[in-house]
């Protein structure tokens, strides 16, 4: 207990002594992790909206909710023999329900009040050529048992490539910033050890264990990384709310909604916190290395 009190006291003293460096470290950690978390969040949003448009799938045919087994069978046979169809995948009502549950995980009441039988069966179809998407969609749209056919709009396609690039750019920026925050923390710890070199000298002289000497400095790095990450977490959360509000008004079909769930934001926030703490600890270990040798 008294040892814990000692560590807390020493850490606080040292943080206060290097206040400016500490703040700079915290801010860079916060900004870089926010960039990093933000791009992950945007990616998650895009992923939700484009999940079904992968592996060459260009359109999804939704049956009417009450469609009979034979009606579904007829469509399936048509797809099977259609020379314009490269492949297709059948999604049962249960599949639809599972997807629904995932998409609306933060609206338990809605999930609660929906049964698998309320949802339509569907086929995800990959045409042999992308140009055939529209003719195929038109052809199946006219069948009586089909409720609606949705296609991966051009915008979505370009969005997919765009996000890939944006992701790359943002992640490289975040990496550069993370490196500089690491550098700042290393420097803060170096300054801290320098400011306390006499104390460290005495501690080593009287036989304080290596860990005892290190812990306050490591805690100092950890605190910086964690506080920075905490801010980043908050910013990611705000971004989540902003995205939700932006998208909320024009959500399209149930299954092509761009959305971001609380669990997305929470998961990303946790990643951000872990990275922040890691950066703090790694930074202080590097900062301490030279001074505490021997």
């Amino acid at each position: 207990m008294s040892r814990l009190a000692y560590f807390v006291r020493e850490t606080l003293i040292s943080l206060r002594r290097n206040l400016l460096m500490t703040i700079a470290g915290i801010i860079t950690v916060a900004i870089s992790l926010f960039l990093f978390g933000g791009i992950l969040l945007v990616s998650a949003t895009v992923d939700h909206g484009t999940q079904q448009w992968k592996h060459g799938i260009e359109l999804e045919i939704f049956m009417k909710v009450g469609a009979t087994h034979t009606e579904v069978q007829t469509i399936e046979n048509a797809l099977k023999t259609d020379p314009q169809v490269k492949s297709y995948k059948y999604l049962s009502q249960l599949d639809a329900y599972n997807i629904f549950k995932k998409d609306f995980s933060d609206q338990p009441a809605l999930v609660e009040s929906t049964k698998p039988s309320d949802l339509p069966e569907s086929f995800r179809v990959a045409p042999t050529k992308a140009e055939l998407t529209q003719p195929l969609a038109d052809a199946y749209q006219h069948r009586p048992s089909v409720d609606t056919v949705i296609t991966a709009a051009k915008q979505i396609k370009s969005l997919l490539t765009a996000t890939r690039w944006i992701r790359l750019v943002f992640i490289s920026m975040a990496t550069v910033l993370l490196a500089s925050s690491l550098f700042l923390i290393v420097n803060t710890i170096r300054l801290a050890t320098f400011a306390r070199r006499r104390e460290i000298e005495v501690m080593k002289l009287v036989g304080a264990s290596n860990w005892f000497v290190r812990v306050p400095f490591m805690a100092e790095g950890l605190v910086q990384g964690a506080i920075g990450a905490g801010f980043a977490f908050g910013l990611v959360w705000i971004l989540k709310i902003v995205i939700t509000n932006l998208l909320g008004h024009h959500s399209q079909n149930l299954f092509s909604t761009f959305r971001v769930t609380s669990s997305d934001a929470l998961g990303i926030g946790l990643i951000v916190l872990v990275i922040g703490a890691l950066i703090g600890v790694v930074g202080s270990i590097v900062g301490l290395r030279r001074f505490l040798e021997a």
């Binding site: 080593k204 002289l205 036989g207 005892f212 000497v213």
Partner: protein, 228 residues
């Protein structure tokens, strides 16, 4: 207690500070380490503290070859060796009491031990009245007493002193030597490097003389210089 076996210490750049030195110091002995500047006295003490490692030969403390000690075991060694220096190495932002208590706190001694040991040791060095003063408010002799108190508060088996009276006037020096003598009488082995001819001649203890890193004299009840 302390044993040097053919110890050679070379620093970077071919400076040989100690040359094939063999020596044994028994428990409870008081040894003066003398010799001209640069003869290797401080190096001798640094080897004992594992501040430096012998280039060749072995340094044994309580039977253990300390050159082969893992770095995580060095703190344990240092808890058994107190040391004082010419420049005291006191922390100016801490009071006398806090300086001494610090030595116990940082090796994880519980509070009640600290509360009983520190006043006891301050009494031993005669600084009870100055417990709440800062080092800058003390005379050189008093500062050295604090540093001795800090070195001895954990009751080490060995006390090393590197020119502890180097900055002190003769009268103050006598007081410090009395204190070291008292500590020695409790059974603590004391090794003291010094240039101070008067105290070596007055104390008549074992004298080990180094010259250019070699042992040139080892006398049981010696004086500072052979001819003097």
């Amino acid at each position: 207690m302390i044993r040097f076996e053919d110890v050679t210490k070379a620093y970077k750049g071919d400076v040989v500070a100690l040359r094939e030195l063999s020596l044994e110091i028994l428990k409870g002995e008081f040894v003066f380490l003398v010799g001209p500047s640069g003869s290797g006295k401080s190096t001798f003490l640094k080897l004992l503290l594992r501040d430096e490692v012998a280039t060749e030969g072995k340094v044994l403390v309580a039977g253990r070859d300390i050159g082969r000690l893992g770095s995580w075991k060095v703190p344990q060694l240092r808890r058994n060796i107190g040391c004082v220096f010419q420049d005291f190495k006191l922390l100016t932002n801490k009071t006398v009491y806090e300086n001494v208590a610090f030595a116990l706190e940082v090796i994880g001694r519980p509070k009640h031990i600290v509360r009983t040991q520190v006043p006891q040791i301050l009494d031993l060095v005669g600084l009870t009245k100055k417990a709440d003063n800062f080092p800058t408010e003390l005379s050189g002799g008093e500062q050295q007493r604090v540093s001795i108190a800090r070195a001895f508060v954990n009751r080490p088996l060995i006390l090393l002193a590197d020119e502890p009276t180097g900055n002190l006037d003769p009268a103050t020096t006598v007081g410090i030597m009395r204190l070291l003598d008292r500590i020695n009488r409790t059974g603590t082995t004391v090794v003291m490097a010094t240039h101070d001819q008067r105290i070596v001649d007055a104390m008549r203890r074992r004298v080990v003389e180094l010259d250019h890193g070699s042992l040139v004299r080892d006398q049981v009840r010696g004086v500072y210089g052979v001819g003097s």
